[in-house]
């Protein structure tokens, strides 16, 4: 028989009954206590208060019994051990549980970072196309469609990528020196890039590179990664253009860039378009970066496609001796592309509001 204190969870009166151990449990005997037997298994540890061990009963948070120190062994041996960190951690011990959690977290992080690469190839093209249409639409009316430019652009595209029926190549009336592959096989060339390029072969290399990203499903990877990050970082925000901006400024991994270059170079080789112009173009952009300073370059082509000496070299050395190269398109077609925005009366003005 042991004195305990007890709240019954129906009134605030503190009882001080005797605890009588019976088979499988105990009974509380005293004024205000019901005579039913409480099984040991029903007890839930509720911590220690002023040295007293406190237990509740499953399913009844108000019911409490407190055993004062020292608790007789006949009772103590039946009491469930107190909870501290939470059930799992208590079971395995702090350090072992901690190590296991750390291992699981490392695996989860690894999967999280790799998942976009694994998942992207399995996203159906039709989904990606719908997503691309929903996200990009007509770019707020900024796509240029001057006389003859559509036909010229198509000619350039079919020249380097004959299987390009599913692609949508557009010129956007935006002064940025950049080109970007967006979801759904959309490749957007910004007006600024056209102004920087000296001949259609330069554009062919850049276009081939972006088509490479499309074919390698790099865009879907980047989008998935962006989505994942925004979920992780609690990205409930109303910055609607965020995803497209992020895609434009996102840098693909070195590998993805190299693979897109390989695709571009191989396409040009097959088509008999000289890769030397693209190499020259990269050279000029790199020079320009030095002049402009990094800040302005970061938002453009160089920011999202780091131009390294290696890349320039890859294009330059791919030109085999004895190959006969022809211009990618005719001078007339090139002129139509260059003036596409200027000659399009309906295109949205570039007011710098897009980015």
């Amino acid at each position: 028989m042991t004195k305990v204190w007890h709240y019954d969870g129906t009134s605030g009166i503190r009882h001080e009954p005797d605890c009588i151990v019976v088979a499988g449990g105990f009974r509380l005997e005293g004024p205000g206590c019901t005579p039913d037997v409480i099984a040991w298994g029903q007890l839930v540890p509720r911590g220690v208060k002023n040295g007293d061990l406190i237990y509740g009963r499953t399913g009844d948070r108000g019911w409490q019994v407190g055993f004062s120190h020292p608790v007789p062994n006949a009772i103590l041996s039946h009491l469930p051990s107190p909870q501290n960190y939470g059930r799992w951690v208590d079971r395995f011990g702090l350090w072992r549980a901690g190590a296991a959690f750390a291992g699981l977290s490392a695996i989860a992080l690894f999967i999280g970072f790799k998942a976009p690469d694994w998942v992207a190839p399995f996203v159906p093209q039709s989904w990606e196309r719908n997503l691309g249409d929903a996200m990009i639409g007509d770019f707020g009316g900024r796509f240029c469609n001057g006389p003859g430019s559509r036909a010229a652009l198509d000619a350039l595209t079919t020249r380097i990528a004959p299987d390009s029926a599913d692609l949508e190549i557009q010129i956007a009336n935006i002064a940025m020196v950049n080109a970007v592959a967006l979801p759904g096989g959309k490749v957007v060339i910004f007006r600024g890039l056209l102004q920087e390029s000296k001949n259609p072969d330069e554009l062919a290399g850049v276009l081939g590179h972006e088509i490479g990203h499309v074919r390698n499903r790099d865009v879907m990877q980047a989008l998935l990664r962006q989505l994942g990050l925004s979920v992780l970082l609690g990205g409930i925000n109303s910055d609607a253009t965020g995803y497209v901006s992020a895609l434009i400024s996102s840098t693909y991994s070195r590998d993805a860039e190299a693979r897109a270059d390989i695709y571009s170079i191989a396409s040009m080789q097959k088509a008999g378009v000289s890769p030397l112009s693209t190499a020259n173009f990269f050279g000029r952009l790199a020079e320009g970066e030095k002049k402009l300073g990094k800040a302005s370059a970061a938002l453009g082509y160089i920011g999202s496609h780091p131009v390294s000496a290696d890349r320039e070299k890859a294009y330059r050395t791919s030109a085999r001796k004895g190959t006969i190269f022809t211009p990618a398109i005719t001078p007339e077609q090139w002129a139509a592309i260059l003036d596409s925005c200027h000659n399009d009366p309906n295109v949205e003005e570039d007011d710098g509001s897009f980015f």
Binding site: S11, G12, Y85, G86, A99, M135, T241, K294, E348
Partner: protein, 407 residues
């Protein structure tokens, strides 16, 4: 039994910050290795300690909430609100790019209203959850109202208060406090709350005027310095702009870090005294005794702790030369693009000191609150029967999602 008289206060906090150290350290460790998922259980352990050290008359409170229910609350909010918001974001994106700025703008406005509404609901439900998990003598508190109507009251009163040049804020704060607490109960007794906003207005007007006062001070100073500077400059031919800029800078710092916060605390202290002082539960009357100087001390201490954390984080950052990644950082560029390890190192270096300090800030806030809370009156323990309010099954997920604190 009678409680609370001149000599003895009915409420006391008997916790010790040294007892918190093992709790804080193990919580932080487990939170880091679980990538933050342990925080629900960490919160529970922290509250168990704080509640168990808060004595009311002859016994302490007991926190009976569990980490699991907080975690489920978080999951429910994630699926009910997080994912839909993400999808809406994608739709919005498409609308903007397709030139439908008008529709997108409307949607964003509607979304912001919905968020405001949910903040109100979350505050209500958070309070309700905490009361329902707080036990004393085996009795708990709670409420049967879901807080959905409170969400509307909160939304329109907040908007209305700001539409009157923010002059109606004391009215919205007190009437919302009253609505919130009048819905809550402990045991069989309903809380009663009857704050008046008129008596808060003098101090509120001072707080309201303080940014304008700062602006006037700066303009007057600038004007005088310009006149004085012009005179000096014409006499000596020297440039006076640096001193002028320095003076205005100092005034701005003074205004933002001293004048305006002080004025805000000056109001907030009278607000808390009013709303708690006019609250009662059955035959118990409550009182809150913290004066402005107590609040200032609380805030200075907390700011000191955070500064300490900042220094503790700065030392390894500088020692390891981690800032090199940020030198020459361009817009749109990710400083961690190259190295996951650097990112992890950064996260750790900041998580450890700030995570630890945050625990002690919560400890100080709780201790401050209990030390200044008084209850006077009679309690009839046999009449203090169990609360008949519905048991909640999940925790304060919504409140957690909006990242709002316990006070």
């Amino acid at each position: 039994m009678g409680v609370g008289n001149q000599d003895q206060t009915a409420l006391a906090f008997e916790g010790n910050w040294r007892d918190m150290i093992p709790i804080a350290l193990t919580n932080l460790f487990l939170t880091i290795v679980t990538l933050g998922f342990y925080r629900f259980w960490a919160t529970t352990r922290e509250r168990q300690y704080l509640w168990s050290k808060t004595r009311f008359i002859d016994d302490t409170f007991e926190w009976t909430g569990t980490g699991r229910e907080l975690f489920f609350g978080f999951l429910i909010v994630l699926f009910l609100f997080g994912l839909p918001f993400l999808l809406i974001n994608l739709v919005l994106q498409g609308l903007v790019l397709q030139g439908q700025q008008g529709v997108a703008g409307l949607m964003i406005t509607a979304l912001n209203f919905l968020l405001l509404y949910l903040v109100g609901v979350a505050m209500f439900r958070g309070l309700r959850y905490r009361l329902s998990r707080t036990y004393w003598h085996g009795i708990h508190g709670g409420c049967d109202n879901g807080g959905w109507s409170y969400g509307w009251a909160w939304s329109w009163k907040t908007v209305a208060a700001y539409f009157t040049l923010a002059l109606m804020i004391p009215w919205s704060m007190t009437s919302l406090w009253k609505q919130r607490w009048s819905a809550m109960s402990f045991g069989p007794h309903q809380f009663r709350s009857n704050p008046e906003w008129g008596s808060l207005m003098p101090r509120y007007l001072i707080a309201w005027f303080s940014p304008w006062l700062a602006l006037i001070l700066i303009v007057v100073f600038g004007f005088m310095a310009a006149i004085g500077g012009a005179a000096v400059a014409s006499a000596s031919g020297a440039e006076s702009t640096p001193t002028l800029a320095l003076g205005i800078g100092l005034l701005l710092v003074f205004a933002f870090y001293v004048l305006i916060p002080l004025a805000a605390l000056f109001y907030y202290s009278v607000y808390m005294r009013e709303v708690i002082g006019t609250m009662s539960l059955s035959t118990l009357d409550f009182e809150f005794t913290a004066r402005t100087k107590d609040w200032v001390k609380l805030f200075l201490g907390n700011i000191g702790l955070y500064l300490l954390a900042a220094v503790a984080a700065a030392i390894p950052v500088l020692a390891l030369g981690l800032l090199a990644n940020f030198a020459d950082l361009q817009p749109g560029q990710n400083p961690f693009a190259g190295s996951l390890l650097t990112l992890a190192a950064f996260a750790l270096i900041f998580a450890v000191p700030f995570g630890l300090v945050a625990t002690f800030v919560r400890f100080r806030n709780w201790s401050f609150f209990v030390r200044h809370l008084e209850a006077v009156g009679e309690i009839n323990l046999s009449a203090l029967t169990q609360s008949q309010t519905r048991e909640l099954t999940q925790g304060e997920g919504l409140l957690d999602a909006f990242d709002m604190g316990a006070m």
